[in-house]
Point group: C2
DNA sequence: CGTAGGTTTGACCTTTTTCAAAATTAGTGG
DNA sequence: CCACTAATTTTGAAAAAGGTCAAACCTACG
């Protein structure tokens, strides 16, 4: 189990045939590998300079034995991850490419807000390939969809890395599955 | 939290726009709602006559306070669900319709085997709609894919409910993403 | 300045969805 | 037990979404 101190980490699973599923993106303060008891179920790769802190599982076990309430906390943390995984499952399973990207951007926006940053100025530390493998799309479709959102005036794009949300409401409407009102 | 005693339950999440994500199918002995601490995050619907046993969450908390090792057990159970959710995520996200159905049938087959039943004779207690919303496909595509697998000689279909696996290896090859060898 | 990696764009093709209708299955009352 | 109705499943044809292949375009870095 690790804890991200600085930077940004992309957590993914590789398949024998080369296909990849990105499971999550971890920001400073996030824990990695909580659900992977015993088996090392996933890989992780830093996308920028990153510092992590390692916490052996044995320590976790020890801590839980000392205080049962922490067992509950641990349980709640994994439950939270489970909830997120199912949310992503729904996004990938039932939504169109545009809806997926809109959801993704809104999730990043909410994350920024929670961290006390500007929720309308999103920095993307990950590559298009990471986003594609996260949302179950191809690089090309991700790129095209970014362009489409830009042309529709919902976002601004600078250097493929900085996204400015110009119309949160329309984006949210898209993510919800409705049709954007703007042309 | 519930425990299925008899029958079969379909666990799903409804979205405001009517879209539905089936999260899992529960068989006798399976627990439902483990990851849903506090918020009632999902619905469930019996597809056949079903009996469940209700276990209040407060009892769980009590038990954990009594014995910390059970906290670990609980944690492991949710981790297991997390693993399953991510496996499904991958299936839905990266695989074709045929591969998804093949994976699904193989998963059911393995489940049958674990339960000591014939792994090659699978009864489908759920409807095509349930399967479709589980795999992120439409009813029509599910039906067509069943037909395709039947025509290719990998399975037999009786009354839309009983599936006989005729070529496990080819099915597994499909689920892995390879091309079936048979015409 | 030139190269390498990542991104965008274009044209075409495959897969899946959509809409519509036929066929099967299940349930109900005679 | 059989006929009738409702629901589910299967099949068909057309349309749309996304994928694939290929090339051009940045951007950062040496």
């Amino acid at each position: 189990v690790y804890r991200v101190e600085a930077g940004h980490v992309c957590i993914y699973k590789m398949m024998p045939d080369g296909r990849r599923q990105v499971i999550d993106f971890a920001y400073p303060g996030d824990m990695i590998g909580l659900g992977a008891l015993g088996t090392h179920a996933a890989n992780a790769q830093a996308t920028v300079k990153t510092r992590v802190r390692y916490i052996p599982i044995s320590v976790l076990h020890e801590v839980v034995r000392t205080d049962a309430r922490l067992g509950i906390t641990l349980y709640e943390a994994v439950s939270q991850e489970l909830l997120a995984a199912r949310e992503l499952l729904f996004t990938v399973s039932q939504r169109t490419a545009t809806e997926r990207l809109a959801s993704f951007l809104l999730a990043l926006s909410r994350r920024s807000e929670r961290r006390g940053e500007d929720p309308l100025e999103i920095v993307l530390p990950m590559t298009r390939a990471d986003i594609a493998d996260f949302l179950g799309l191809t690089i090309e479709t991700v790129s095209r969809t970014f362009t489409k959102l830009r042309n529709e005036g919902l976002i601004d794009l600078e250097q493929c890395i900085l996204v400015t949300i110009k119309d949160v409401e329309a984006l949210a409407e898209l993510a919800r599955g409705g049709h954007a009102s703007k042309a």
